[in-house]
């Protein structure tokens, strides 16, 4: 099973990924191969099986809550230190809203 070019481009858009044409054709084949393998899961009847999202251990319901104690967090300068572009204490991005 290969994915269609249209399907690959649609998923790439959802994932915010620019793919070159040769990447699209490679992806059609690679994803198709993996998805074909994954179809084996249909051999299993899982109708009455609970899904497992996380490894869970028994603990008190509120065990993970902590005291609400204020503490210092990153400064504005520290938080912006890795920004691609920053200015006026903000992350800057291409214009989104037209005035």
């Amino acid at each position: 099973m290969n994915l269609s070019e249209k399907e690959v481009r649609y998923v790439a858009d959802l994932a915010n990924l620019r793919l070159a044409d040769e990447e699209v054709s490679r992806m059609r084949q690679d994803l198709g191969q993996i998805l074909t393998h994954i179809e084996q899961l249909n051999e299993l009847d899982t109708q009455s099986v609970e899904p497992m999202a996380q490894v869970l251990y028994s603990a008190d319901e509120t065990a993970t809550l902590r005291e609400d104690v204020p503490h210092t967090s990153l400064t504005n300068a520290e938080a912006l230190a890795n920004a691609a572009i920053s200015g006026a204490s903000y992350f800057k991005v291409p214009r989104v809203i037209e005035r």
Partner: protein, 481 residues
Amino acid sequence: MSLENGIPALTISSVRQGLLDKKFSARELAEAALQFAEVENPKTNAYLTFSRERALKAAAHVDEEIAKNGFVGALAGVPLGVKDVIVTRNLRTTCGSRILENYIPPYDATAVFRLEAEGAMVIGKLNCDEFAMGSSNENSAYGPVRNPKALDRVSGGSSGGSAAAVAQGTAVVTIGSDTGGSIRQPASFCGVVGITPTYGRVSRYGLVAFASSLDHIGPFARTVEDAATVLHAMAGRDELDATSAFAPIDDYRALMKHSVKGLKIGLPAEYFEGLNAETGSVIDAAVKQLQNLGCEVRQISLPHTKYALSCYYIIATAEASSNLARYDGVRYTIRAAGDTLAEMYRNTRGSGFGAEVKRRIMLGTYVLSAGYYDAYYKKAQQVRTLIARDFTNAFADVDAILAPVSPFPAFKIGEKVDDPLAMYLSDVYTLTGDLAGVPCMSVPCGESRDGLPIGLQIFTKHFDEATMLRIAYNYERATTR
């Protein structure tokens, strides 16, 4: 012990003894370890960054404490390497990716913080597959890690640098991460000890997220005892990671020295099918050795093993597609041009991520996309329940499970890069441990005819690292001259 040529022979306890006996200072050791690592590193490409300043600062603190008979931590003066998906304050953390080439984290991972609090000296950051996605370290944007035991072969992955540095002797201990086998598989390929603890045993705070429900931090070392010491220092509840566990931490080093006589060990039939013959006979010999030490061995079944790969590649990629959405050209240093916000996102991610990361983001996005959720993601979560249940059922009858780590020893660099599914199949024996969240490890148990290391995998119940380490320690003692 002279430091110049003795670095690869050091252990945590020999470092401690040397410091307390004033054979060398922590500063001298830091200098010697850094010099050795910098000279040796080009052979394997294990380190991406050296952190001289940080190591010397830690050394100065250790030397001060020793001079005033103060606090000598469990890892005092121990040269430590950290996988580059674990953040270090003011020290570049690339995740093996171009997209984070210049990223300088503003905070430390809890694991690193705890090891440094015990006196460890971080000497550098270690190469890995991009965002820990890979089984050979060939997906690093900074080049593959070569296996110190055979330089034309892969180190394994994704924590290839962490395994190679310990095997090569350029660190005494290292830490890495495991989502589908990324600690155990490179440990087995490089012939060192690697531990994937129980899910939640070590805080994930500061581990750059790949698949949050599967990600683990764990240690690499040349001896079981050193690995146990590092695990003990990192383990325990951390309020910065809500999934970190409250369970008490056992005294691993004391408990592992107990005899293994009478322990019940299961051999799962599913892990011995399709196994390379040489690996099979080395594992058989290791099992016999443990039988000679008094373990009772029986055949068991983990019937859903063959579904682990499909289950894993749905869950791990789904979580990854969400976790990696944050690398969008806004907060993490690198941005590609684009006329609109959406164009900028797409161009940055398209040029910043490597092929395997894109493949997994695409697969994860596909399986979560409208109309497919029940067929893929929900189905995989249900199968995960069955895989976890296999372990629960098995541990009703046995104390531990033994298996190979990988179906074959280290393969040649380039051998599997063009076939993603064949590469994924090299993790077929390690994925189950992460899916079930049980502790598991690789301990060296022999070599192929070509001298390639082979690892024995040990699984135990949730939070029973002590029994796992006991088996590994007794095996190591019985087989090391």
